[in-house]
C-alpha cells in the first residue's frame, strides 16, 4: 500500500503574525464588554467600572497564545506525518499484537497502586479531617463517575440528568431514616432499587430517541426532579432540605459521644473522637466504590456488557444481529441509575443534610465531565479526572472561582483535541491467545 503524503504548507512568519493579530482582534471585541467593563452597585444605582489593563493583558495573551499554539500544532503534525503509514490488515494486526504485548499491565498496576494508596491514606492522615473529607468527596465522584460510565461510556447514551438518580437515592435514605427510622444498610438496597425504577420509568418511553434528543430529555427529567424537590415542601422540605439525617452505624452501633446508648466508643472501650466516624465513612465509600468498580468491570465482560458497547458502536447493526436494543439500553440506564442511587444514599448519610441545591444541572455536568475527560468507558480515566477536578480548587483557594470556568474550557479543548477522552484506548474484553504456532 502506498502512503499518501499530503503536500504540507508551512506558514511563514508574517502569516503567523497576521493570524495571531486576527485572533487578538477577536479577543479585543469579545473582551470589551466582559473584561473591559463591568457594572458595580453604588448603593442604589449602578456605575460602569473599566478594566482596560486586564483587557490589554487578555488580548496580549491571546496573541501570544495563538502563535505558540500554531507552532505546537505544526510540530505535532510533522511528527505524526512520519508515523502515518498505509493501513493494511498486516499492519493493523501488528499494531494490535504490539498493543497486546504491552497489554493492560501498566493500567492494572496503576489501579492496584491506587487502591493501595487509598487504603493506606487514613493511616498517614488519621488526625487530619480535611484530607479525609476531600478524599471522601473524591471517592463519591469516582463512584458516580463509574455509575455514569455505564450509561455514557459503555452504552453511549448521553445522560444529562444523572444527578436525578443521585437525588432519588439521597432523598429516599433521608426520608426513610428521618421519618421511619430505617438504618443505612436497610435503606441502601431500597434506595438503589428505587433509583433503578426511576431509570426504567424515564428510559422506557425515551430510549428510542436519538442521541441528542435523549440528552435533552434526560436534562428535562433531571430538572423536573429538582423542581419537585424544591416545590414539594411537604415531602422534601423544599429549598431548606432535610436536616439531621442519621449517620450510618456498624451493626447497630453508632458513632456517638460516650454514654449515649449504642455508642461504639463505649462498646469498644476506646476514647470517643469524631474522627472515627469520618474514617469509617471514608472506608465505607471506598468499599462501595471498589464494589462498583468490580461490578462494572465484571459486567463489561458479560454478554450484556458487550451488548452495551455494541449499542454504542452501532445500534442498527445490533438490531440486525437480533439484539433487542431497547432492553439493552434500559438495562444500562437502570444499572447506572442504581449505582447513582447508592452514591446518593452515602452522600445523604455523610452530609447529614441534603437540599435540592446539591442536585442541580451543574452537578450532572461535573459528573459527565469526569466521565468524558477521563475517557469514555475507561475506569481508570474516571479516577484520574475525579482526582484532578475535585483537588484542583482545593489546592489553591483563590482558584475556586475559576474552577467551573476551567471545567468548561477543558471540556471544549479535550473534545476538540481527543473526542474520545484522555484515556481513550479501550481494553478488549476477550483476547484469543493462539495455542501452538497456528491454531
Amino acid at each position: 500500500m502506498t502512503a499518501i503524503v499530503h503536500a504540507h504548507h508551512t506558514p511563514t512568519l508574517s502569516e503567523r503574525l497576521k493570524d495571531a493579530s486576527a485572533a487578538a482582534f477577536i479577543a479585543l471585541i469579545l473582551g470589551i464588554p466582559m473584561i473591559g467593563m463591568t457594572t458595580v452597585d453604588q448603593g442604589g444605582f449602578l456605575a460602569v467600572m473599566t478594566r482596560w489593563p486586564q483587557l490589554a493583558l487578555f488580548v496580549g495573551l491571546t496573541f501570544a497564545g495563538r502563535i505558540l499554539f500554531s507552532l505546537a500544532l505544526e510540530t505535532i503534525k510533522r511528527r505524526s506525518q512520519g508515523r502515518k503509514s498505509g493501513k493494511s490488515a498486516a499492519s493493523a494486526a501488528e499494531a494490535a499484537n504490539a498493543a497486546l504485548k504491552r497489554g493492560t499491565k501498566p493500567e492494572s498496576v496503576i489501579g492496584w497502586l491506587a487502591v493501595g494508596i487509598a487504603v493506606a491514606l487514613p493511616i498517614f492522615f488519621s488526625e487530619d479531617r480535611y484530607i479525609i473529607d476531600i478524599a471522601t468527596s473524591v471517592l463519591i465522584y469516582i463512584m458516580l463517575g463509574w455509575g455514569l460510565n455505564v450509561v455514557v461510556g459503555l452504552a453511549g447514551l448521553l445522560d444529562l440528568g444523572y444527578v436525578a438518580f443521585y437525588a432519588v437515592g439521597a432523598y429516599t435514605y433521608a426520608l426513610l431514616s428521618t421519618q421511619f427510622g430505617w438504618g443505612f444498610w436497610e435503606a441502601l438496597p431500597v434506595a438503589g432499587g428505587l433509583a433503578a425504577l426511576f431509570g426504567v420509568l424515564l428510559g422506557w418511553p425515551t430510549l428510542r430517541l436519538r442521541g441528542d434528543y435523549l440528552a435533552i430529555v434526560t436534562l428535562g427529567f433531571g430538572e423536573i426532579i429538582r423542581l419537585l424537590l424544591v416545590n414539594w415542601t411537604e415531602l422534601s422540605g423544599g429549598p431548606n432540605g432535610i436536616t439531621s439525617i442519621p449517620r450510618p452505624s456498624v451493626f447497630g452501633y453508632a458513632f456517638l459521644p460516650p454514654d449515649t446508648e449504642g455508642s461504639i466508643a463505649d462498646l469498644l472501650g476506646i476514647e470517643f473522637s469524631p474522627m472515627h466516624r469520618l474514617l469509617f465513612l471514608y472506608y465505607l465509600i471506598l468499599l462501595l466504590a471498589l464494589l462498583t468498580n468490580l461490578f462494572v468491570t465484571a459486567m463489561r465482560r458479560l454478554p450484556l456488557g458487550r451488548a452495551w458497547e455494541a449499542v454504542r458502536e452501532d445500534e442498527i447493526a445490533c438490531k440486525a444481529m437480533g439484539i433487542n436494543v431497547t432492553t439493552v439500553k434500559l438495562s444500562a440506564f437502570a444499572i447506572g441509575a442504581m449505582l447513582g442511587g447508592f452514591a446518593g444514599v452515602f452522600f445523604a448519610a455523610r452530609q447529614g443534610f441534603i437540599s435540592p441545591e446539591s442536585f442541580t444541572f451543574s452537578e450532572s455536568a461535573i459528573i459527565l465531565a469526569i466521565v468524558v475527560l477521563g475517557g469514555m468507558g475507561s475506569q481508570l480515566g474516571v479516577v484520574l479526572a475525579a482526582l484532578v477536578l475535585v483537588m484542583l480548587p482545593e489546592l489553591g483557594r483563590d482558584f475556586a472561582e475559576y474552577r467551573m470556568l476551567l471545567f468548561g474550557f477543558a471540556m471544549i479543548v479535550i473534545m476538540v483535541w481527543r473526542p474520545g477522552g484522555i484515556l481513550a484506548n479501550r481494553a478488549p474484553t476477550l483476547i484469543h491467545v493462539p495455542t501452538g504456532d497456528k491454531a
Binding site: 452597585d41 448603593g43 442604589g44 444605582f45 449602578l46 496503576i110 497502586l113 491506587a114 494508596i117 498517614f124 487530619d128 479531617r129 480535611y130 484530607i131 473529607d133 476531600i134 423542581l227 424544591v230 416545590n231 415542601t233 423544599g238 429549598p239 431548606n240 432540605g241 436536616t243 439531621s244 469524631p274 452530609q351 447529614g352 443534610f353 437540599s355 441545591e357 446539591s358 484520574l384 482526582l387 483537588m391 482545593e394 489546592l395 472561582e401
Partner: protein, 365 residues
C-alpha cells in the same frame, strides 16, 4: 507512575497547608460573600474585620491575637456545610454566622459536633429551637419579627386587602407564617396565601393573581431580589402594592432594581444601632474608614465583642467555659446589651418598622 508523583505532590502540598501551627486564636465568620446576597456578606465581613482589628489593637483576647477566617456559603445550604467543615478544620473557637437561616441550620450541626460556639443573626425560630447548646442569636427571631409586621398591618392598614407570599426558604416561609399567624390573631384573613420560586424572573402570573384579588398590601417572606421584580411587574400591570417584609430588605440593591417603586417597601429590623449612644465612637470609626455601618455591620462587630468579653470573663476559650460565660452574663456591645435565655435567644429583642424613602430607610411609627 506519573499519577503517583502527582498524588505525592498533592499530599505534600496539603500537609504543608494544614500543618501550619496556629499561634493566633482563630475566629470565623460565614455568610454570602458571593452570589445574590453578597452585599450582606460584605457588611458582615467589614464589621468583623474592624472588630478584630480593634480587639487586637487592645491586646487581643487572653493575650492572644485574633485571626479572622472568612467562609463563603453563598446562602447555599450545601456550601454552608462544607464551609463549616473547613472552619472546624481551621480550629476556630468561635463562629459568627451564618447569615441565611437555611445555611445556619445545617451548618450548626457541624459546629455543635465539634463543640464550637456560634453567634448568629439568622432569625428563623428553628435555629435555636432544635436544642443545640452551642448557638446564640444576637437578633430577634421571626416569630417576634412577624408579630411586629402583623401588628403593623392590623393597626395601620385597616380595611386593606392583604396577601401573604413567601419564597419557600427557611427564612422566607418562617417569616410569612409568623405574619399570617399574627394576622389571624387580629382576625384579619389574607385574601391570598401563596409561594413563589426564588430565582425566577417572570412573576406576572402571581401579579395577575394579586390583581384579580385586588390586593393592596403584600406581606412577603423572602429576599430583596424577588421583591424588586414583583414591584416592577406590579407597576407595569398598574397594581399599587405596599410590601411588608423583614430584615433582608435592608439591602440597597433593592432600590437599584426596583427604582422609585422601592418607596413602597416597609420592613421590620432591629432598632438602628447607629442611634445608640454606646456605638457613637465605633460608628465614627467606620465612617472615617469610608464604611457606612448599616445593616449587619454593627451586628458583626457586636458578635466579636461578645466573644472577646465572654472569653475574658471565662478566662478561657474552652467550649464549656465559654458557653457558661455567655449564657450567664450580660454583655455591653455596640448593638446594646445582650443576654440570652436557655435556648440561646436574645432576652430582650426589639423590632421596629422601617420604610425605604428615596434610597434610604428610616424607622416609622
Amino acid at each position: 507512575m506519573n499519577k503517583k508523583t502527582l498524588l505525592a505532590t498533592c499530599c505534600v502540598a496539603l500537609m504543608g497547608m494544614t500543618g501550619v501551627a496556629h499561634a493566633d486564636l482563630a475566629v470565623g465568620i460565614a455568610g454570602p460573600m458571593t452570589g445574590q446576597y453578597a452585599s450582606n456578606g460584605d457588611q458582615i465581613r467589614k464589621g468583623a474585620e474592624q472588630a478584630v482589628a480593634d480587639i487586637n489593637a487592645k491586646g487581643g483576647v487572653l493575650g492572644q491575637k485574633l485571626k479572622l477566617e472568612v467562609g463563603d456559603d453563598a446562602c447555599d445550604p450545601k456550601q454552608a456545610v462544607s464551609v463549616a467543615n473547613t472552619m472546624v478544620n481551621k480550629k476556630i473557637v468561635f463562629m459568627h454566622g451564618h447569615w441565611c437561616s437555611s445555611s445556619t441550620i445545617p451548618a450548626s450541626d457541624v459546629y455543635n459536633e465539634s463543640q464550637i460556639l456560634m453567634a448568629t443573626v439568622s432569625t428563623n425560630p428553628k435555629v435555636t429551637d432544635r436544642g443545640l447548646k452551642n448557638i446564640f442569636r444576637i437578633m430577634g427571631s421571626d416569630d417576634q419579627q412577624g408579630k411586629v409586621g402583623g401588628d403593623y398591618i392590623a393597626d395601620h392598614m385597616q380595611g386593606k386587602k392583604v396577601a401573604v407570599l413567601d419564597d419557600k426558604s427557611a427564612y422566607g416561609k418562617g417569616l410569612a407564617d409568623e405574619i399570617a399567624k399574627e394576622l389571624a390573631v387580629k382576625s384579619i384573613t389574607p385574601v391570598l396565601r401563596e409561594s413563589i420560586t426564588a430565582g425566577e424572573k417572570d412573576y406576572t402570573g402571581i401579579i395577575s393573581k394579586l390583581k384579580t384579588a385586588s390586593v393592596d398590601v403584600l406581606a412577603y417572606g423572602g429576599y430583596h431580589t424577588e421583591v424588586a421584580l414583583l414591584l416592577r411587574q406590579a407597576e407595569q400591570a398598574d397594581l399599587k402594592l405596599t410590601v411588608i417584609s423583614g430584615d433582608t430588605m435592608t439591602n440597597s440593591e433593592l432600590v437599584t432594581a426596583a427604582g422609585p417603586a422601592a418607596n413602597n417597601v416597609m420592613f421590620t429590623f432591629a432598632p438602628d444601632p447607629r442611634k445608640n449612644a454606646d456605638s457613637a465612637a465605633v460608628v465614627k470609626e467606620f465612617r472615617d474608614a469610608g464604611v457606612e455601618p448599616e445593616g449587619y455591620v454593627l451586628y458583626a462587630y457586636a458578635a466579636m465583642q461578645l466573644f472577646a468579653d465572654a472569653a475574658n470573663k471565662a478566662g478561657s476559650v474552652k467550649y464549656t467555659d465559654l458557653r457558661k460565660a455567655m449564657a450567664s452574663n450580660t454583655f455591653n456591645t455596640v448593638v446594646g446589651p445582650l443576654s440570652f435565655d436557655d435556648k440561646g435567644n436574645l432576652k430582650s429583642p426589639g423590632f421596629v418598622m422601617y420604610k425605604w424613602q428615596d434610597g434610604k430607610y428610616d424607622s416609622v411609627q
